[in-house]
């Protein structure tokens, strides 16, 4: 974890180091299934195999596979094989995933999201589950992101993937907003009659 900002009500954790790979193409789904991975069926959805490996279907035929543990030899091995030029496969296209990955949580996570993204995550939060659910391909603070809301105990965490070249900007901006949200500067509150 290269950067962790723990706050009372907003948490941001760097999950970039998790083993992961991506693939797409007509043969991608069958190839992943042959590897024994549980594949989510709907477009833009995810599932979590035994709580350890997350498989996300991005649109219809692109997949992101990520270990939820910091080390996973099996995922590393698959990724290595997939990216090896000597093992290119027909209709299966490797997608290098060096993403900056942040995990957003805390009671006021939604306050950060509504300042940075025009997607109604509160609506997704209500239906969030621990093992499967919808994902969102959208833009936050001007950066294309993939977001998965996931039930984590009593709360919901949002895992956010973005292009690594935006990583510094993305993380530092979110951290600054998180700091502001938890600082004494009063936020606008709706008035109660």
């Amino acid at each position: 974890m290269s950067s962790t900002a723990r706050r009372a009500s907003v948490t941001l954790a760097d999950r970039s180091a998790r083993p992961r790979f991506g693939c797409k193409g007509p043969a991608a789904e069958a190839w992943l299934r042959d590897l024994g991975l549980e594949i989510p069926v709907p477009a833009n959805s995810w599932s979590c195999e035994r709580g350890d490996v997350l498989v996300a279907r991005l649109a219809t035929s692109e997949f992101l596979v990520e270990s939820l543990s910091p080390a996973n030899a099996r995922i590393d091995e698959i990724a290595h094989s997939l990216l090896d030029p000597a093992q290119r496969r027909t209709a299966l296209y490797p997608v290098l995933r060096q993403d900056r990955v942040l995990e957003l949580g805390g009671a006021r996570a939604n306050d950060l999201l509504v300042e940075t993204c025009n997607v109604d995550f509160r609506a997704l939060e209500r239906g969030a589950q621990a093992a499967q659910g919808p994902l969102v391909l959208t833009s936050m603070i001007g950066v294309g992101v993939t977001v998965i809301p996931r039930r984590d105990g009593p709360g919901v965490t949002y895992t956010i993937w973005c292009d690594p070249s935006f990583g510094h900007y993305f993380e530092s901006t979110l951290e600054a907003i998180a700091d502001e949200l938890t600082s004494p500067v009063p936020l606008f509150e709706e008035k109660q009659e």
Partner: protein, 975 residues
């Protein structure tokens, strides 16, 4: 004026007195007071000066729209201009000053402008100050005269981050109909946002009740219900200021802008009460009747001691009842109508029985001012022969005139949403017709003013909005009838030979100003608005547009129904600039070697949205010397540049080759695996939009680069083209996922050989070859390209390992003295080779034939984007031509990019790239010029000080024309 006794539901907290100053004088008010209410309660009547003539102005609506009572506010954390006094909550220690005065509100040094108003008619500026020579002077003078506060540049920045909100149903306006709509929608199961510009819910239900306790009780119950409903989120002091497609609403909250996305919207903003137009209708003490009611009910302020009410509806009579209940003497009620409606008649008789003088068919001809410039009396007008005429009766003494002659619906958002409104001649009001899907209106906007009918209409609209979102409810189908007695008079405008009968208080526009504009030909609503600026002030025509249309209709002899009002654009209500600015995001991309560059002393520059090293600092060396040293290192030794900013895309599948053949102007289906080729991408008109190197890694795998600034755009465009052409090609964007750098120079092979087992000999890895191999133990793609005209290798590796391999290469190159080089050295190196930079050496009209890149265009292919256009272009004469030029060594004025090339006194082109080549010892450049200028053999370039530099046209490349250095790594030499 005075503070009244406690009022039911008043907004002030009498237990919390507050001290503040206005124009340097100390005042006291209560928590909950606005500046306007606190000043009026303290006996002040003049709150500001008008924009143009500096006339005294007081309160008008007390409803968030009083743009003549605008103040500069000093607080502990800084000074803020242009706060509206009718919404500005007082706070302890607040210091306020009227804007737009010279020397203070009472002794405004520019009040003389009022006496010269005859010389300042509408259009005066256009006619008097159009001289090019004098315009800057007059502009400064006029801006100075019309100053509206001052910006405190030292004020600390407050966080005003924008925020998104979401709801099933958005209800704009929390008056009786809005409350009813919100409750009906929420009871149907919808998640509701209820927004109102005032600090408390209730709208007109909190003041315009005419002493009706049952209605007041009903409003209080609804406020309580809405205030405690779990599915209703309430945003008070929050004005809806703009509507955008797909039910996006801009809400201006106290500290920020909210962007609300709703599935359906109910517009319940009510109606703006309209002023009567008569001479001196702007004197302090003349208010809209609803404004006076707000002051009495909300702030417990008596706006006058003796009032005359001019009305044309039942609301004026109710205001009279409220005034008497507050202990204010009602000296007369003037009804513009010769025959008041039934409700008005009943209330009128009740007032008459209490001794109030009632006059029908009567209006105000002119208001008279006292010694302090505030209203003191009114002269009567009477309706005869279809027009208003001065009456012979004596003036009526009154220190207040309240106007209740009609309403204009608050329909700006509806119009922005695409609703069509029509003028109803029976109601004398614009009414919405069929609304776009998901939009609903209720209450006064629909011409419904009766209290019970408004509640019914609100409930209908709220239920219908919930049903639109999929919630089941049995309500929402009821039709609510419009009232029998119209609320608006068709002609509340009284002409006066001495004018000063204002239609627009924002811009000091009188009836004659509009008539003169119409006479000059500006005779449509749009033209009249633009010429006179009616409705263009801060209140955006809330109190002026309807009367202006009436003046236009009369002048043209048209019915009002035939005129279309203008639509106020978002934001139709004043919004602080800080709210519009929000937080401000500037996405910036960094390569994986960013930290290494920092350690090496990089001087940063932006390139697209990337930050790149412009050059690397060296001790005691100037910028130019540093860049020259980097160029020298590439030409004579070995150097390293980060090119990770290039777009990096893979195309997979059997269709990848044919796809790239259609995308690029060159031929790639025939490219051999293991080789690369330069490619130009064109648009449909044959204009160059991008270039890059396309590598074939395997028969069905291509890997190619795009320019730094275009990677995201090109990737999106490729996806669009693949879909449109129905080609099964898999596209993968690796731009940020891969690090890339170029190892260049005669000794680059020697350095790279230390890090890879790949055979780097020319025979095994020739020029323009591509290989996949390990570099420093990391899987890499290597391309032998002539990036800077020397033996060189572009090395692409996973981003996470970029910094490690970069450092490994630097370590391996330590003995030959490897150095990093930045963008400026790269530009010079590429310029020496005559390599173009797309969008710098080309513009939005440049085709390949004009830059001598015909070799990269294969017209014999079946198809590529831009082919047909190029075929047509090829048959005609060239419009421009990219040529090289070189100055003789020696001192000469500096030629810069974008300097113009002049031929026979006319612009014949521009310099696109230029610099002093350390390698060649002279200034070289490229220029995009007219073919005739190129043929002349010498370019005449006008430089900064208007001097002319004469630059011989020379062939490109400037350096190593044969390309032997990049092809074999052998020593070439300067051309």
């Amino acid at each position: 004026m005075k503070r009244l006794g406690p009022q039911a539901g008043e907004w002030i907290d009498r237990s919390r007195p507050i001290g503040f100053t206005f124009e340097g004088r100390r005042y006291r008010g209560f928590s909950g007071d606005t500046l306007t209410s606190a000043l009026l309660a303290s006996g002040e009547r003049t709150l500001g000066r008008s924009f143009k003539y500096h006339r005294r102005r007081g309160a008008l609506s007390v409803a968030n729209h009083d743009v003549n009572a605008v103040v500069q506010v000093r607080r502990v954390h800084g000074s803020v201009p242009n706060e509206r006094a009718d919404t500005l909550a007082i706070e302890e220690g607040l210091e306020a000053f009227a804007v737009n005065t010279q020397g203070g509100l009472e002794r405004d040094g520019r009040a003389w402008l009022d006496r010269f108003s005859a010389f300042l008619p509408v259009g005066f500026y256009y006619k008097a100050f159009h001289s090019r020579r004098w315009f800057p002077y007059w502009e400064r003078r006029i801006r100075d005269l019309a100053g509206l506060g001052s910006v405190d540049l030292k004020a600390p920045r407050r966080p005003t981050a924008k925020r998104y909100e979401f709801a099933d149903v958005a209800v704009v306006g929390a008056g009786p109909s809005g409350l009813a709509a919100a409750l009906a929608a929420a009871e149907a199961g919808a998640d509701v946002v209820l927004a109102d510009e005032h600090p408390h819910l209730g709208g007109s239900g909190t003041y315009a009740l005419g002493s009706d306790p049952a209605a007041a009780q009903r409003v209080a119950e609804m406020k309580q219900a809405a205030g405690s409903h779990a599915r209703i989120r309430r945003f008070t002091s929050t004005a809806a200021v703009g509507y955008y497609a797909d039910h996006w609403l801009a809400l201006d909250a106290p500290d920020r802008l909210l962007k609300l996305r709703a599935r359906s919207v109910v517009f319940a903003q009510g109606a703006y009460e309209q002023p009567a137009v008569f001479r001196n209708n702007d004197l302090p003490g003349i208010l809209l009747a609803s404004g006076a009611q707000r002051l009495m009910r909300r702030y417990a302020v008596a706006p006058a001691s003796r009032v005359a009410i001019v009305t044309a509806n039942v609301h004026g009579y109710r205001a009279a009842i409220d005034a008497r209940a507050a202990g204010i003497e009602v000296t007369a009620v003037l009804d513009l109508r010769e025959r008041p409606g039934t409700q008005s008649h009943l209330l009128g008789e009740m007032l008459r029985a209490q001794g109030v003088r009632l006059l029908t068919g009567a209006a105000v001809y002119a208001a008279q001012a006292d010694s302090k410039g505030c209203v003191a009396a009114l002269e009567l007008a009477e309706w005869r022969d279809g027009a208003w005429h001065p009456a012979t009766s004596d003036p009526i003494a009154a220190d207040g005139i309240w106007m209740s002659v009609g309403f204009a619906p608050a329909d700006a958002l509806l119009r922005q949403a695409g609703a069509r409104l029509h003028y109803d001649a029976r109601m004398n009001q614009f009414l919405p017709g069929a609304l776009p899907p998901g939009l609903f209106a209720c209450g006064k906007t629909n011409g419904i003013y009766d209290f019970d009918a408004r509640l019914a209409d609100g409930a209908r609209a709220g239920a219908a909005a919930a049903r639109h979102c999929g919630f089941e409810t049995h309500r929402g189908h009821e039709a609510v009838g419009v009232p029998v007695e119209p609320a608006s008079h068709p002609w509340p405008i009284v002409d006066h030979p001495k004018a000063k009968n204002f239609v627009d208080f924002d811009e000091d526009l009188q009836v004659k100003d509009l008539e003169n504009a119409i006479q000059e030909g500006f005779d449509s609503a749009e033209l009249m608005k633009r010429y006179t600026t009616v409705g263009m002030g801060p209140s955006q025509g809330k109190h002026s547009s309807l009367n202006a249309l009436r003046v236009l209709a009369r002048a043209r002899g048209l019915a009002l129904e035939s005129l279309a009002p203008t639509t106020a654009r978002p934001m139709f209500h004043p919004v602080p600039l800080s709210h519009l600015a929000g937080r401000g995001f500037t996405p910036e991309r960094r390569t994986p070697m960013d930290g290494e560059h920092e350690r090496l002393g990089a001087v940063w520059m932006p390139a697209g949205n990337w930050r790149r090293p412009e050059y690397y600092r060296r001790p005691d060396r100037s910028r130019e010397e540093c860049i020259a040293a980097e160029v020298k290192a590439v030409r004579e030794g070995v150097a390293l540049i980060d090119v990770g900013t290039l777009g990096k895309i893979e195309a997979h599948g059997a269709a990848a080759g044919p796809f790239l053949d259609r995308v690029y102007s060159g031929r790639f289906d025939t490219l051999k695996p293991g080789m690369t080729r330069y490619g130009l991408m064109l648009d449909e008109s044959g204009v160059i939009i991008d270039d890059g190197v396309i590598a074939r890694l395997a028969p069905e795998v291509f890997y190619f680069t795009t320019t730094t600034g275009n990677s995201a755009t090109i990737f999106r465009e490729l996806g669009r083209l693949a879909t449109g052409w129905g080609m099964a090609v898999g596209l993968v964007n690796l731009t940020g996922q891969l690090a890339a750098f170029n190892l260049a120079g005669p000794r680059s092979r020697q350095v790279l050989a230390k890090l890879t087992s790949l055979d780097l000999a020319d025979a095994a890895f020739p020029y323009l070859g591509v290989r996949e191999a390990q570099v420093a133990g990391v899987p890499a793609r290597l391309m032998r390209v002539g990036f800077v005209g020397e033996l060189g290798y572009e090395i692409h590796i996973p981003a996470s390992q970029g910094a490690g391999v970069w450092n490994a290469v630097r370590t391996a190159g330590a003995e030959p003295g490897i150095v990093p080089f930045g963008v400026e050295a790269q530009r010079m190196l590429r310029l020496e080779k005559g390599h173009i930079i797309v969008s710098q050496d080309t513009d939005g009209l440049t085709n390949p034939l004009e830059i001598g890149a015909g070799w990269a265009v294969k017209m014999d292919k079946p198809f590529f984007t831009g082919q047909r256009s190029l075929a047509i272009i090829a048959k005609g004469a060239r419009r421009q031509q990219l040529v090289g030029f070189a100055l003789e060594p020696g001192p000469a004025p500096a030629v810069k990019e974008c300097h113009l090339v002049i031929r026979q006194g006319r612009i014949a082109g521009r310099v696109t790239s230029v610099g002093r080549s350390p390698t060649l010892g002279r200034t070289i450049g490229l220029a995009l010029v007219a073919p005739a200028a190129a043929k002349d053999g010498v370019l005449h370039i006008r430089v900064d000080d208007h001097a002319m530099v004469h630059a011989p046209v020379v062939p490109t490349p400037f350096y190593d024309a044969a390309g032997s250095r990049q092809k074999s790594g052998a020593s070439g030499g300067a051309a």
